[in-house]
């Protein structure tokens, strides 16, 4: 009887039920409801769906013809590339450099990780002040260096750069910490052996650190790409309504714009479905590309 209690797994299911109910109520039910709502006509946020759209798939047809959807998809893909190169790439370089210094590792870990703990909205406001057209810090600096014309950092041609720079900067520290933990797990004996064989620092990095970091880099890449799909608060704080000229919309901000600003809730639901589909497809693609190796 005493041993049976460990073989009987039924009590485990009892403990799983609350979490399952929570997920079903706050994730799966809204998700299914969202798919249904994307086919319905909803007058405004909070209103119940009254009838099906005519045709019922009308929102999806509209999406294909909506130039802003294509803009937001393009910007989201650019954001993914930026996060991969800008966040993971810079994090690798920083991690390798910090790993090679003798003292002050903890200091740099703290300094690089710090932006993660600041709310994205606060960072958005901070960068708004930095990039402000009149009296912004960057324009004042440029003015002091002799530039006579103010630069509109939020103008159409440059807005995407201004939006992505802080997003990139914010998460470098996150991947840096993951990567430096991965580097710490590499045995010092390997480096010592390489040094005895006459390997240079670059050769140690190229033939020991990077290959053994492969799986960690893969994990970071998957996190970065899927994370890029969810970026919302900082871009919305800095560029509400896709300003200027709706050129800075991301899929998330465009969905929010239609749901909360234009009151076109059912179209917002259809955009949410698009985001989910995009997320699933891209996760599969990224997982296939950055497949982890067994050592």
């Amino acid at each position: 009887m005493g041993a049976n209690i460990y073989r009987n797994k039924k009590p485990v299911f009892v403990f799983l039920i609350p979490a399952f109910l929570f997920m079903a109520t706050f994730l799966y039910y809204p998700f299914i409801k969202n798919i249904l709502n994307s086919f319905m006509s909803i007058k405004q946020l909070g209103s119940s769906a009254t009838s099906f759209n005519t045709p019922w798939y009308g929102n999806y047809v509209d999406m294909i013809h909506d130039q802003n959807v294509w803009t937001s998809l393009k910007n989201t893909l650019i954001m993914m590339v930026v996060t991969l190169i800008g966040q993971v790439g810079i994090a690798i370089i920083l991690a390798l450099m910090v790993d090679n210094i003798g003292r002050g590792k903890q200091f740099f870990k703290t300094v690089f990780f710090f932006p993660i703990v600041i709310s994205a909205t606060a960072l958005g406001l901070l960068f708004n002040l930095l990039f402000l057209y009149d009296k912004g810090m960057i324009n004042q600096l440029l003015e002091s260096l002799g530039k006579t014309q103010l630069t509109d950092w939020k103008a159409e041609g440059i807005a995407l750069f201004t939006m992505m720079l802080p997003v990139m900067w914010q998460y470098v520290g996150f991947y840096f910490v993951i990567l430096i933990t991965g580097l710490n797990n590499i045995s010092d004996e390997l480096y010592e052996a390489a040094r005895i064989d006459g390997a240079s620092t670059w050769q140690c990095v190229r033939y020991i650190s990077l290959p053994l970091l492969h799986n960690v880099i893969c994990t970071c890449s998957v996190l970065a790409v899927t994370g890029a799909l969810k970026v919302f608060d900082l871009p919305w704080t800095m560029f509400p309504k896709g300003m200027p000229l709706k050129s800075t919309f991301l899929t998330g901000t465009y969905m929010y714009y239609h749901t909360m600003e234009t009151k076109n809730v059912d179209y917002g639901c259809a955009l949410a479905v698009l985001i989910v589909v995009l997320g699933i497809v891209l996760s599969k693609v990224v997982n296939a590309i950055f497949r982890e190796k067994d050592y």
């Binding site: 009590p11 609350p18 405004q44 946020l45 909070g46 009149d134 159409e156």
Partner: protein, 472 residues
């Protein structure tokens, strides 16, 4: 077996603890046998003319917590007056107000609509009385003044009935107005002097305005402070008004082809012309309204079309501490003036946009709560009393029957100039955008940058908006 029972109990406890988080009354109501007793109705509402009103009118049985949402927040000139009035009412009655006020923008309107839809509306709401209120009036979620008077006969009797706007839904009166509004053109006179431009007056025309803008631009200043990519609302309104008359301004076109529709298209094209002439800030498409307003107060832009609430914003910008009126820099404030919006065609410069567009609603949720009904009535009576309203109305109109004589000593220089300017107004017309709500605005409000840059034709944008309006 015992362990299974304990496991089941623990799991059940977890479920209860999760669900209890979302249930306000779970503990209290579970054990109660009888529903809460109805409070005795107040004997009389009365007291419409006294700050002592709460003592003799609607009286709640004990201290009550009222949730109140208003637009008296942010840069609204009455934000501080509202705080003071609420504090005084709280001290007088012992009740408390949970203030959820916010700046009156599209997000705020959306929030209010959503609150009503989801049953989390406030007890008292100070909100617009135009099309913005249609959804919750249609749903019967607020009480008409007549309905309230059935129990509190003296409710809002200090107001001039004719000046309380009717609902667009059923023609009944729901919201008791406090202060009216006007929209006019603020001027930074320092820039005008530097550019050699005369202060605009009552015969100011669009052609004169353009000539002045050219001089201001040549002097190195930005003529117009406006963020077309963020808040094009005021220019949208007056540009359309300039192609109509006060008689036709509130008529929403049936189609883009009819006379009114063409007037709207011409209005959009007028803004486009000003943009192409370079009279708006260089970053007008990417700036926020706060940024362009700062340009105006910092002496970098000359003209600003905005509402009467902006008087408070300008005064605040002239104070070293925006919360402390005693820190007002009167010399700086003297550099600002307010005048009429340049006219065109049938619209004279002195024909302005304005009226009593907002008021206090009592929600059915508060009315049906026996503890809150009297307190909500009492609160609105206090906030709309003859003593409180003048503090809010200031240089704008009110609906009071007995409007008190204003003491000029109580006003700052800009407020006095506003009073002087308002004395010359020939007509005051409501804003057509108050009737043109929802996604029909998107093509010409959010789409203004596309219109002025020529990416979208003005006629197409207007047609798209009108289609959305007529399909609502």
């Amino acid at each position: 077996m015992k362990k299974r029972i304990i496991a089941a109990l623990l799991a059940g406890l977890m479920v209860v603890s999760v669900t209890a988080c979302g249930n306000d009354n779970s503990a209290g109501s579970a054990g109660s046998e009888a529903p809460a007793q109805e409070a005795a109705p107040a004997e009389s509402a009365g007291g419409s003319d006294s700050k002592e009103a709460p003592a003799e009118t609607a009286q709640p049985s004990g201290p009550v917590e009222l949730t109140v949402t208003t637009t008296f927040a942010g840069e609204d000139g009455n934000a501080q007056n509202y705080k003071n009035a609420v504090k005084a009412w709280e001290e007088q009655t012992g009740n408390t107000v949970v203030d959820t006020s916010a700046t009156a923008d599209e997000t705020f309107k959306m929030r209010v609509a959503t609150d009503f839809e989801t049953g989390s509306e406030p007890d008292v709401l100070f909100f617009f009385n135009g099309a913005d209120a249609n959804s919750f009036i249609e749903a019967g979620k607020v009480l008409s003044i007549d309905e309230i008077r059935a129990e509190y006969p003296e409710y809002a009797t200090n107001m001039n009935e004719d000046l309380i706007p009717d609902s667009l839904v059923d023609g009944k009166k729901y919201a008791i107005p406090v202060n009216g509004y006007w929209e006019a053109m603020f001027v930074n006179t320092e820039i005008l002097e530097a550019a050699g431009v005369e202060m605009p007056g009552e015969n100011y025309t669009m052609d004169m305005f353009k000539a002045d803008c050219e001089k201001i631009k040549a002097a190195g200043y930005t003529p117009i402070a406006a963020a077309l990519g963020n808040i094009p609302h005021y220019w949208w309104e007056f540009a359309i008004f300039n192609n109509q008359s006060p008689d036709t301004h509130l008529e929403i076109p049936e189609s883009v082809e009819d006379a009114n529709g063409q007037a709207w298209v011409s209005g959009m094209n007028d803004i486009k012309e000003l943009y192409e002439l370079g009279y708006f800030p260089d970053n007008t498409l990417s700036a926020t309204d706060d940024e362009t307003f700062a340009m105006f107060t910092d002496g970098k832009a000359a003209f600003l079309i905005d509402g009467s609430w902006k008087v408070g914003g300008i005064v605040g910008a002239c104070q070293s501490d925006p919360e402390d009126p005693s820190t007002l820099d009167t010399d700086k404030l003297a550099k600002f003036d307010v005048t009429y919006v340049p006219g065109k065609g049938s619209r004279k410069a002195t024909d302005l946009i304005g009226g009593l567009s907002s008021g206090y609603y009592i929600t059915r949720k508060a009315w049906d709560d026996p503890d809150k009904r009297a307190a909500a009535v009492n609160f609105v009576e206090y906030m709309t009393s003859d003593e409180v309203v003048p503090a809010f109305a200031q240089h704008a109109a009110s609906a009071l029957k007995n409007a008190p004589v204003v003491d000029p000593a109580e006003f700052n220089e800009l407020q006095l100039r506003a009073i002087e300017m308002m004395a010359g107004v020939t007509t005051l017309t409501g804003a057509v955008q108050d009737l043109f709500q929802g996604d029909c605005r998107v093509s010409t409000f959010d789409g203004m940058p596309e219109i002025v840059t020529g990416k979208v034709d003005a006629a197409d944008a207007v047609a798209e908006g009108l289609d959305a309006y007529h399909n609502q």
